[in-house]
Symmetry: C2
C-alpha cells in the first residue's frame, strides 16, 4: 500500500515525526503537499471538509487506503506496529504512546518559546514575551524533560526508550534533540554533557542506514525559521 | 478491579477527563490524592520514580492492577473500550482518539490564555501578555475549534461525535464546554448560539444519570482559580 502523507511542504514540523517513521520503515509513501503541482491544494481540500471522510482538524494526516488518520501520535500509534516500529504487547505499546505524547507536550513548549502569544502573531510582535518564556524554557523546562527521558533510558537499559526494542519513540526523541540543537545551540551545549544517554540515542538513530540516507536526501526539509524549532540567538541563553 | 487514579486533588484539570469516564462507567476507583491522609505523597512517589515501574512524566496516571498508564488520552484509549465508552472497530477507536487529542490541544490553549509565559509564573506576573493571548483565543481560536466540532456533529448525525455511538470523546467535549463557560462566560454567550449541536451535546451529557449524580456530588471538584479553566473577567472579552 502506498501511503499519502499530508503536511505543510516547507517545514519539518509535526509531520517530521511521521516522515521519520515512514523512512525507517522503508514504506512506500508520497509526501503529497511537496508534489510540484497542486500539492497544498490537495491538503486544504481535506481541511475544508471537501474530502468526504471524517475531517482532520489540522495536518499532519495520513491516508492509508480509505483511512484518513490525523494527530501525529495517533498516526504513529496505528502505523508503527505495521512496520516493526512498535512492540506487539499492549503494555509496551501504551508505554511507547505515552512517551510520544510526552514528546508532543515538549514540542508545544519548544514552539511556544518563540510564539508565547500565539501563532497568529509574528515573532517580531512578541519578542519581549518570547525572551521571558524562552529563558524559562531553557533554564527549567529543558532540564525537566531531558531529566525525565534520561531516567527512562537509565531504567530501561538497552539504549532505547523501550529497553532493547527500538521503536518510533526513539525516532521522535532523536528529532527533539536535533530540533533543539538547531534552535538553542548554546543552551544545548551546556546541557548535553548531563544527558549522555540521549546524546548516544541521537547518534545511534542518526546512523541507522535508512535514517542516515534520509537525512542526507532532499526529502528531509532543512530546519528553518518557519518551523516549530527556530533559531533566534537572543532566545538562546 | 479497583482503579487508582492519581491526580492533583484540588483541581479538575486534565484528571477530570478520566474522572468523567470512570464515573460514566460506574467503575470502582479511588481518587488517590484526594484521600485525607498521604494522598499527594502517594502521587509524588510515582513522579520521583520511587514506585518501581515505568515512570509517568506528570499526572494524571491510572493504576490498574500492575499497569500504570499516564497521559490523559492514553489512559482513555485503554480504559474506554473496557467500559463500553469506545466502539469496538479500529477505525472508530482511532477517530475517538483523534478527537480526544484535538481536545487536548484545545485544552492547552485554554490554559495558556491565562499563562502564556508559562506555568512557573503567577498570572499576576503575566497579565498584559494574557490579555493579548486571551483576546486572540476568544476571537479566533474558540470559533476555530467550535466550528470544527460542530461540523463533525453535523456530519456524523446521531448527536454524538461518533454518530449514534456515545463515547468518551463526548464526555471530553462536554468538559471543554463546561470549562469554557466558567472561564469565559461573556465570550461563550456570544458564541453558543452558533454551535447548537455542541450545546445540545453538553446538555445531553450533563443529564445522563451517572454524570448528573457525579456533578451534584462532592467528588466533582468545583471549577476554581487554580485549574486549567480560570475566570478572570479582564480576559473575557
Amino acid at each position: 500500500m502506498r501511503y499519502e502523507l499530508y503536511y505543510w511542504p516547507s517545514i519539518q514540523g509535526r509531520g517530521e515525526f511521521v516522515r521519520l517513521a515512514l523512512e525507517e520503515a522503508d514504506a512506500d509513501y508520497i509526501d503529497v503537499a511537496r508534489r510540484p503541482q497542486r500539492g497544498v491544494a490537495a491538503l486544504t481540500r481535506f481541511l475544508e471538509g471537501r474530502s468526504g471522510g471524517r475531517p482532520p482538524f489540522a495536518p499532519p494526516f495520513l491516508k492509508a487506503g480509505k483511512r484518513v488518520i490525523a494527530q501525529t501520535a495517533n498516526i504513529l500509534l496505528w502505523l508503527a506496529p505495521r512496520h516493526g516500529l512498535a512492540p506487539k504487547s499492549e503494555p509496551a505499546r501504551l508505554w511507547a504512546h505515552q512517551l510520544q505524547l510526552t514528546i508532543a507536550d515538549w514540542l508545544v513548549e519548544a514552539h511556544d518559546a518563540h510564539h508565547p502569544i500565539g501563532g497568529a502573531f509574528y515573532y517580531e510582535d512578541q519578542k519581549p514575551e518570547s525572551k521571558r518564556r524562552a529563558a524559562h524554557f531553557t533554564a527549567a523546562r529543558l532540564p525537566k524533560f531531558f531529566g525525565y527521558f534520561e531516567r527512562v533510558l537509565e531504567r530501561e537499559k538497552g539504549g532505547w526508550l523501550l529497553g532493547k526494542a527500538f521503536s518510533y519513540a526513539d525516532l521522535s526523541l532523536f528529532q527533539m534533540i536535533a530540533g533543539l540543537r538547531y534552535a538553542f545551540p548554546r543552551a544545548m551545549q551546556g546541557l548535553e554533557t548531563k544527558y549522555p544517554r540521549q546524546v548516544a540515542l541521537h547518534d545511534r538513530v542518526a546512523s541507522r542506514p535508512r535514517i542516515a540516507a534520509y537525512l542526507a536526501s532532499k526529502r528531509r526539509v532543512d530546519f528553518n525559521q518557519h518551523g516549530i524549532f527556530r533559531h533566534y540567538p537572543e532566545l538562546d541563553a
